[in-house]
Symmetry: C2
DNA sequence: GAGTCTGATGAAACCGGTTACATCGGAGGA
DNA sequence: TCCTCCGATGTAACCGGTTTCATCAGACTC
C-alpha cells in the first residue's frame, strides 16, 4: 500500500537503484556469466532492497514460451482420474524446481472438451498439454502441431501422440481368467454404454478382452448377462439388480471399474446375495476404495501413470517429440475378499 | 509447419488483412461500441480467415491484471480436500464463461506452503488466491495486501481474510451428543497430533468440542482414551489397537476424520470387536467413502464449500473485499451403521 | 457556404521483461 | 606508444496486446 498502487517495482527500478541498465539486471537475474561480480552484488542488493520480483507474464511474452502446462481432466469423474492427477501434480508442481506451473482445465460436459482444447492451444499460455482420459480428434492434433504445442495423453491413446496407457483388453482377459480359475462359468458384466458422449472406450475394451477370454474357455458371454449404463455407483446397483433377478443369475460379475463394482456389491447386499459365495465380484482400477472394501480387482498403477505422463510431457517440451512412444503399464490381479 | 514457425498471427496481421489499424482490431475484439458495423465485419472476417486467436499473455501484461486465479492445495491429502476442490473447479473453470483460469499449486511438504504463497503473490500472474486447508500467517497476509491480491480461505480461517469454514468445535460436540444419546459413557478419541507441521487445527478443534460436550454430561475424556498420530488410515488402525487393548477399552470411538474412522473400523475388525455392538464408531467429513462403508459421521458440505469459496473469490476480485466475511456452514449428524 | 461538433479511426506509447548489437575502456602485443 | 582485441555494460528494439490522444471526415447549424 502507500504509493505503489498494486504494481511492484520493475526491472528498471532495480536498474536505477543499482546504477546499471535494465539489461544488466536481466542478466544477473538469469545468471548470465557476462556480469562481473561487483556489479552482480550491487544488483542483488538492489533487488533485495526493493523487494523486486520477476513478472512471469512479461517474461513469458518476451521469451515467447510459457512456463505453464495445461492439464485437461474430466475432474468430476472417478477416483481413478484423481489418483492419476495426483501423480501429475506431484511431478509437475511439487518437485523442488517447480519448473512448470499447472493450469487445470476441468471438462464437465462433452462439449467443453473441444473448448478446452481450443482455448489452451490457441491462447498459447501453456508450453504443453496433458490430456487425461479424454479422446482427441485428428483435427485437434493438427491444430496442436500447427502451433508446435507438445501434448501427451494419459489413459487414452492416439498413434500420433505419446501416451501412457494400460492394455484394457488384456485387463479384461485377466479378470476372466481369474473368475474362470475360481470355477465360475456363468458370468455377468456391468459396464459403461459402449458408445458414450465423452468417447470413453476403456469399459468396452475391458469387456472385449473379458468376452474373448471366456470364448477361449468355451464360454459365451450372453447378452442377457451384460448390463450397460453410466459409470456410477447407483446405476451399477440398479443394473446389477436386474442382472441378479433373472431366472439363472450369474455366479460372478465383472464390473468395468471399481466404482461400479461397489454398486454391484451394494446390489448383492440388498438382494441378500452373499459375496463371494453366491456372487463373486471383480472390479478394475484398484483405487483406494477397493482396498478399503476388500474388493478383488485389476490393479493398474494410477499414480505412477500420472508421474510418467508428466515426465513425458516435460521431455517433449524440452527436447521435442521424436516419435510418439506409447508407454503401456503393467496390470495385475489383486485378490481380496470378493472372489 | 510452413512459414508461421510456431507463432500465430498477431493483432497487427489481422489489422493489415482487414485494412485497419491494430487499435481498431482490439476494439472489435473487446466489443467496444466505437467501431462502425462494416468495419467490424471486415475485422471479423479477417480474424476468421487468419484463424487469429488472442494472446492471453500479452493481454494480461497490457491490462496489468491476470485472468487466472491461484489455488493452493495440499493435494496429496484426503478425499475431503479433493471434494472441496471439485466444487472450486466446477465453479471456476467449468461454468460456461470460463472467466478465470485455474493455476493449481500443490503443497506436498510444509516448507512448500510458504514458497507457493510467495510465488503466487509476487509473480503476479494471478488475480486472486484461494487457499485450501492451509493456515496463513500475518506477514503473508501483509504481502498479499501490499500487492492488492485478494485471497479467500477454505477450511481454515483468519480474521483478516474472507473464508468458508465449519465450526469444528461444534462438530465435536455433535459427535459427543450422538454417542451420549446412544448410551455410551466410556468413549475414545483418535485424531491428529494437536501440533503438526502443517498447522492443521481441525482435529484438535473437534476434540475440544467433543471433550467439552462430554464434560457437560459429567464425563471426562481421560488421556488414556485419547490417541494421536498422523492423519492416515494405517496410523489410525495402530492407534485404535492400542486403545482397545487396554484393561477397560472404550465402547465408542470418535475419529477426527472419516479416513481415520476407516482405520478404526479396520482395527476393530482385526481385533474381533463388533461394530456397533462392541464398539461404536463415528467419523467426520462425510466423504463418499463414509457412505460406502456405512460409517456414521458428521456431515459437512464439502463440494458446496468449494463452490462458495470460489464465488467469494470472484466477488473479491471483481468488487474488492469490503469486510472479510466468514461463511460458516452447517454440520449435521448422518447416522449409518457404525453407531 | 463557413464554422463547429461529433463519431470513427489511426499513431504511438506503454505494460515489463529479453537480447542483438553498439560502445567503451583496459589489457596485451608489436 | 599505438593498435587490436575482448569483456563488461548500455541502447534500443521487440514480444502482442490496450489505450490515450490526435486526426479527419461528415453532419449539422446559422
Amino acid at each position: 500500500m502507500g504509493t505503489t498502487r498494486g504494481r511492484g517495482p520493475t526491472i528498471r527500478d532495480v536498474a536505477r537503484q543499482a546504477g546499471v541498465s535494465a539489461a544488466t539486471v536481466s542478466r544477473v537475474l538469469n545468471d548470465s556469466p557476462l556480469v562481473v561480480e561487483p556489479t552482480r552484488a550491487r544488483v542483488r542488493a538492489a533487488v533485495d532492497e526493493l523487494g523486486y520480483r520477476l513478472n512471469a507474464t512479461a517474461r513469458t511474452l518476451s521469451l515467447g514460451r510459457a512456463t505453464a502446462v495445461g492439464v485437461v481432466v474430466p475432474f468430476f469423474t472417478t477416483h481413478s482420474v484423481i489418483e492419476r492427477l495426483r501423480g501429475v501434480v506431484a511431478r509437475l508442481s511439487g518437485g523442488g524446481q517447480r519448473a512448470y506451473d499447472l493450469l487445470l482445465y476441468d471438462v464437465e460436459a462433452p462439449e467443453q472438451r473441444a473448448d478446452a482444447m481450443r482455448d489452451l492451444a490457441d491462447r498459447n499460455r501453456v508450453a504443453g498439454l496433458l490430456i487425461v482420459s479424454l479422446p482427441i480428434f485428428d483435427d485437434e492434433i493438427d491444430a496442436l502441431q500447427r502451433d508446435d504445442l507438445p501434448a501427451v495423453l494419459l489413459d487414452v491413446s492416439h498413434p500420433r501422440l505419446p501416451g501412457v496407457v494400460v492394455d484394457n483388453v488384456r485387463g479384461g482377459e485377466l479378470a476372466a481368467e481369474h473368475l474362470l480359475a475360481k470355477g465360475h462359468s456363468h458370468i455377468g458384466f456391468v459396464g459403461d454404454h459402449p458408445t458414450n458422449e465423452y468417447g470413453f472406450t476403456s469399459s468396452e475394451d475391458r469387456r472385449r478382452g473379458f468376452s474373448s477370454a471366456l470364448d477361449r474357455a468355451g464360454i459365451r458371454l450372453d447378452p442377457s448377462m451384460e448390463r450397460y449404463g453410466v459409470p456410477d455407483r447407483d446405476e451399477a446397483d440398479v443394473l446389477t439388480r436386474s442382472l441378479l433377478q433373472q431366472p439363472a443369475p450369474p455366479t460372478a460379475i465383472f464390473a468395468a471399474s471399481d466404482l461400479q463394482a461397489i454398486g454391484v456389491l451394494r446390489a448383492c447386499e440388498a438382494l441378500g446375495a452373499r459375496v463371494p459365495d453366491d456372487v463373486a465380484v471383480i472390479g478394475f482400477d484398484d483405487v483406494d476404495l477397493a482396498e478399503i472394501v476388500g474388493l478383488t480387482t485389476i490393479h493398474q498403477p494410477l499414480r505412477e501413470s500420472g508421474e510418467l505422463a508428466a515426465d513425458l510431457l516435460v521431455a517433449a517440451i524440452e527436447h521435442g517429440v521424436h516419435d510418439p512412444v506409447q508407454e503401456v503399464q503393467e496390470l495385475t490381479v489383486v485378490e481380496r475378499r470378493t472372489t
